[in-house]
Each structure stands twice: as structure tokens, then as C-alpha cells.
């Protein structure tokens, strides 16, 4: 299948009074049509910034796209006119962000906001747009949709507001939906409902999904492919089963190890990754995780490892590491 999105060497920096923040560094990957890509990382990993940058949603300045191409259906998003990009953003690429209160317009009813998107991007008449808007709210399982659609955003609970955001995100039947920490602020039971809803929607519409999160559990249940980012780089990427069963990067391994399983509860201590994420104004010279990695070699500390096939795993399992993690773990050294 053809990739719907192809990111090539994307590099993004922010010029601040204190110095240059190297937020995204040479990120390349592609997504197949219909695929669900889970992107995991913590603050400063570049997981959110790189999608905002490719969608023209970072302020420039201070943001700056240093180089790279982002091909969406063979068209470079980074070279598009702002008008064309806006058009694609509303119709072919949908977005759902963490905080619906900042993305929804508080003074317009949910109906106005949905109808506006539908008339502008889908060319529907007012009546058809209103009918479709109600359908969309029903699709995201908002009870009593025909009535609730007349409400303003603040009249919905957090979980319901996030559903409204998803309804707007999918209103114009985007080929690609990008959700950035879309369930992070929600309670776990509401998160579970939204994740189930996303799976249903994918089955119904076949859309491609990028789900950005810090939660390994969410990624495990939702994704076909997982991509682990750190300090603006991809450290590991591959089929979700392969990566969880046999992580090849020490950061991925450390994150999975730090989760409290029954075994670790019995041990009375969680595995902990030492140190803190790097300062992106002065990133470490080699592998960005090297300063926190007990497996790091001299080469890790000086030379950035390329992302390449993980030896002995499936061909689409990629890792950026100078060390061979399974061998080190088998050797029992830490």
C-alpha cells in the first residue's frame, strides 16, 4: 500500500533569547493508509511539535523549519500556500488536541462550529450540514445529540467536550486524523470509552490515525505501529507486538520496565530511569539518551546512531542504537 504521509528529515528549531532549541531533529517516517501509528514520548520528545510544525501550526518565528519534506498524498505540506494548507487541515487532515476548551470557540454553539466546517469544506447546504452535524455527534455517542448540539462548549463535561472535538476532527471525513494527548486530561473510564470509539470509527471509515501519547498502555491497545520519540528524534519504531515483546532501544526498555507489574510489586522497587530529559538547547552530542543509559558505550556518547532495522526482528522494526540490547540483557549486565 502507498504511504498516505511521508516525513523526510524533518528538522525544527525555535529561536529564543536564551538560544536555539533543537526541538525536532532529522525525523523521517511514513504512514500507510488505514494504519494506526502510536507516537510515544514525554515532554520535549518532539512528538507534538513535529506534527504541529508539519501542519503549519507553530508560530514562525520563533519556530523555524530548518529542513525536510512532509508529503501528504505526494504533495509537500511544507511548501503549500497557507490557504491550501488551511483547506487540507479542515478537510483531509483532522486534528484533536488535549484541551478542547482552547480549540473550541466558547461563544459559538457546537452546531455553529460543526456546520461551519461542513459548509466550508464539504460544500453542504445549511440544512444538510445541520443534519450531518447531528449524525456526527451520534457517531461519537453523545446522548440526545439533536438537543445537545444547541449547547455551548462549556455546557458539556470534559469527556463529552472531547467527543465534540473528535466529531469536529472527523466532520469532513479526513483521510488522516491526528490526536495529540486527546485523552490525557480525561478520567480513565472516559478514556476507555474514547479509545473504543476510535477503534469503531476506524472500522467504519478506514481512516488513518496518528495517536500521540505518553501512555504505553494506550499505545498497546490502539496501535498497529509504535514510534518512540526522545529529544526530537525517533529512537525506535516498529509493529506494536514486536516492540513491546522485544524493545531494542534502552529508553523504550526502561519505560516498559518502569511500569509496575506484579513481579515488580513483589520486588518492592520499580525500575527507574536515572536523570532527567536533556536540555534541547544543549543536547548531548551523540545518542540523546546516552547520559541516562547504563548500557551506553563511548560511541553512544559521541555519535548519533541512525535509525535502522533491528537485527533479528521483523524488517519494519527499526532502532537507533549503537548497542545490541537483547545481547546486553542476556549477559545480565546493567
Amino acid at each position: 500500500m502507498a504511504p498516505i504521509l511521508e516525513v523526510r528529515n524533518l528538522t525544527v528549531a525555535f529561536d529564543t533569547p536564551a538560544g536555539v532549541v533543537h526541538a525536532v531533529n532529522d525525523v523521517s517516517y511514513s504512514i500507510e493508509e488505514g494504519e494506526t501509528l502510536g507516537i510515544v514520548g514525554e515532554s520535549g520528545s518532539g512528538k507534538s511539535v513535529h506534527v504541529l510544525a508539519m501542519s503549519g501550526l507553530i508560530p514562525r518565528p520563533p519556530g523555524r523549519i530548518v529542513r525536510g519534506e512532509v508529503l501528504f498524498q505526494d504533495e509537500d505540506l511544507l511548501k503549500m500556500s497557507p490557504a491550501r494548507l488551511r483547506d487540507i487541515r479542515g478537510s483531509e487532515i483532522g486534528f484533536v488536541f488535549q484541551d478542547p476548551m482552547t480549540s473550541l470557540n466558547p461563544v459559538l454553539t457546537v452546531e455553529r462550529q460543526l456546520v461551519e466546517a461542513l459548509t466550508r469544506h464539504e460544500g453542504l447546504g445549511a440544512r444538510a450540514a445541520r443534519a450531518r452535524a447531528v449524525e456526527l455527534l451520534e457517531m461519537v455517542r453523545i446522548p440526545d445529540a439533536a438537543k445537545r448540539i444547541k449547547n455551548y462548549p462549556h455546557q458539556f463535561s470534559g469527556g463529552m467536550r472531547q467527543r465534540v472535538m473528535i466529531a469536529i476532527g472527523i466532520a469532513c471525513r479526513p483521510k488522516l486524523l491526528i490526536a495529540d494527548e486527546a485523552t490525557t486530561a480525561l478520567d480513565v473510564t472516559v478514556q476507555a470509552q474514547i479509545l473504543d470509539l476510535m477503534k469503531d470509527l476506524k472500522r467504519e471509515t478506514g481512516m488513518t490515525l496518528v495517536w500521540i501519547t505518553h501512555d504505553m498502555g494506550v499505545v498497546a491497545g490502539l496501535s498497529d505501529t509504535v514510534q518512540v520519540m526522545y529529544a526530537g528524534r525517533i529512537l525506535e519504531r516498529g509493529p506494536v507486538d514486536a516492540v513491546f515483546a522485544s524493545p531494542r532501544n534502552a529508553y523504550t526498555w526502561g519505560l516498559l520496565q518502569s511500569l509496575p507489574t506484579a513481579e515488580r510489586r513483589a520486588a518492592g522497587k520499580l525500575h527507574q530511569i536515572p536523570g532527567s530529559p536533556p536540555d534541547l538547547m544543549n543536547p548531548p552530542p551523540g545518542d540523546p539518551f546516552a547520559p541516562r543509559n547504563t548500557f551506553a558505550t563511548d560511541r553512544c556518547r559521541t555519535e548519533v546512531p541512525p535509525l535502522r532495522p533491528a537485527p533479528g526482528s521483523t524488517p519494519d522494526h527499526l532502532v537507533a542504537a549503537w548497542y545490541d540490547l537483547p545481547a546486553l540483557l542476556a549477559g545480565g549486565t546493567r
Partner: protein, 294 residues
């Protein structure tokens, strides 16, 4: 059985405005010395308000709170001062809690001066250095300001300040929620080490149930201002009885693709749920209480 350090009975907090909100509605629990009680629930469940009432940051509408056998629910704020020494707090946001204009050493030392535990000078410096070491921070960093520290380090600073007066109970309100995932395990381990070394009791308020399972001896689940289930940790996770607890546990994402894809959720309609007038906590197994009909 160790003596109780905290005992809360029928605690109630009602906010009266345009509508009446029963934020905490007849909550009872106790914490033994050196015990960790997890208080879990979703937004609006009343778990944070319960913590604030225990700390007397807010006044309860009804019910009693006993600390070390003495009632504290109706004492004045000045009478609370000696009790505060023994009952400290760690909040969610390690950024907001710190004073940006104070060196972190002064911040950790401040309660020691307020409560006249240490004299200014070398006595204070030595004690603050000891506290820094206790939370695995280099005492050489005492002279620095909060902005020079990462989120995890700032939470360590807050914990060091809370430990200074040698409290017997720490109320921790979502202390790892705002931290990066690679840092959360560090702070949870620190809480556990300190608890074991110093014999501290915690009221650990959290929504991350897997961390609660790791750290807590007992867990109380709150729904709409009430405790619907309270039990020893493993009993609660292995054999949840209340439909809401079951729903909550079935919603925690499992970081294992095969297990997570295969599981089914248990749904519970929080909004539609109503308590019956005679609902109360019923003991279904030793120490395992569930809200229901007697």
C-alpha cells in the same frame, strides 16, 4: 494492629451556591501509623477535597477528624500549628508549590525556622543538607533557584520540605501526575523508600491505579463524594466487588498489546448512578468493605 494516626468519621463537605454540591458525603476511614492508604476516584469524586479537609485547608460541614487520637475538625488554625508539624502535604504541581524567588535551600529550611526547630546558621544548613540527601539531591544545589531544576527534582524539593519537621503523616495529592513518565518511577520509589525508612503514613490521593497498587497497603475508591469500596490493596485489585470499582479497573490501559486488545470493558454509568438512602459499607471479607445494602 498499630494505633491509628488518622481517623475520619462521617466527614462531609457541602458547597452551597445556586445548587448544593455534596463534594464529600459521609466519608469514614482510618490510617494506622506507618500505613499507606490510597484514595482513588475520578474528577469530581471528592478525593482531593477529602485531603484538603484532613489538612484543615478547608472546614468540614460535618463529621469528625481525629489525628493521633485528638479531634482536629473544629480546632482553630492556631491550634492546628503544632499538628501541622506532624501532618505535611505534597501537591501535584511541583512548579506552583515552590517560591521562585527563594533558593531551594531556604525553601526547604523555612518550616524549620517557622516552627523554631533549628537555629539559623550551621544547624539549619546541616539539617537542610541532610534532607537533600534523604531525597537523593546533591546538597550543593541548596543555593540554586527553582527554575534551574527539572520537574522530578522540584518534586524532590517539595518532599524534602515536607519531611523537615519529621511528620508522621503525609497527604500526597496526585504527586506524580504532572511528572514525565520516565521520572514517575523515581518519585514513587522515593515515596516507598521514605515510608519504609521513616515509618511514615501516607494518604496517597491518585488516579493512576497501577502506581497505587504498587505503593499502598489499602485502597479506598470514591464515587460522588462517597467511599464505595475500601480494602487491602490486593483484595481490591483481585476481587473488586462494587460495579464502579470493577469499571474503573477494567479501564486501566495494560501495556501489553495482546492483553489490551483482548480485554473488554465493564461499563458503569456514573451520571445515572444514585445511592439508596440505606446504602452503607458492608464487610464482605476481612477488612474489605463495599457500599451496598446491609
Amino acid at each position: 494492629m498499630k494505633p491509628e494516626i488518622l481517623s475520619v468519621h462521617d466527614l462531609t463537605k457541602i458547597y452551597r451556591g445556586a445548587t448544593e454540591v455534596r463534594a464529600v458525603d459521609g466519608v469514614s476511614f482510618s490510617i494506622a501509623e506507618g500505613e499507606v492508604l490510597g484514595l482513588v476516584g475520578e474528577s469530581g469524586s471528592g478525593k482531593s477535597t477529602t485531603g484538603r479537609l484532613v489538612l484543615r485547608l478547608e472546614d468540614p460541614t460535618g463529621g469528625t477528624i481525629q489525628f493521633d487520637g485528638k479531634p482536629i475538625h473544629d480546632v482553630s488554625q492556631s491550634a492546628m500549628k503544632p499538628i501541622r508539624r506532624q501532618m505535611q502535604v505534597v501537591f501535584q504541581d511541583p512548579y506552583a508549590a515552590l517560591n521562585p524567588r527563594m533558593t531551594v535551600g531556604d525553601f526547604v529550611g523555612e518550616p524549620l525556622l517557622i516552627h523554631s526547630v533549628c537555629r539559623r546558621g550551621s544547624e539549619l544548613r546541616d539539617r537542610v543538607a541532610e534532607l537533600f540527601r534523604q531525597v537523593n539531591l546533591d546538597p550543593a544545589m541548596m543555593k540554586r533557584y527553582p527554575h534551574e531544576f527539572s520537574g522530578g527534582q522540584r518534586q524532590r524539593i517539595n518532599i524534602a520540605r515536607a519531611l523537615g519537621l519529621r511528620p508522621r503523616l503525609i497527604v500526597a495529592d496526585e504527586p506524580i501526575t504532572a511528572l514525565d513518565v520516565s521520572i514517575q518511577a523515581q518519585i514513587v520509589n522515593l515515596f516507598k523508600e521514605l515510608q519504609e525508612e521513616l515509618g511514615l503514613a501516607y494518604l496517597f490521593i491518585a488516579h493512576d491505579l497501577s502506581m497505587v497498587r504498587f505503593l499502598c497497603h489499602r485502597v479506598a475508591v470514591m464515587l460522588k463524594g462517597r467511599i464505595v469500596e475500601i480494602a487491602p490493596t490486593e483484595a481490591l485489585f483481585e476481587d473488586p466487588r462494587h460495579p464502579y470499582t470493577q469499571s474503573l479497573l477494567s479501564a486501566i490501559p495494560i501495556p501489553d498489546p495482546k492483553l489490551e486488545r483482548a480485554r473488554s470493558r465493564i461499563n458503569f454509568d456514573r451520571d445515572a448512578h444514585r445511592f439508596a438512602p440505606d446504602d452503607r459499607l458492608v464487610e464482605v471479607a476481612p477488612g474489605h468493605f463495599v457500599m451496598g445494602q446491609p
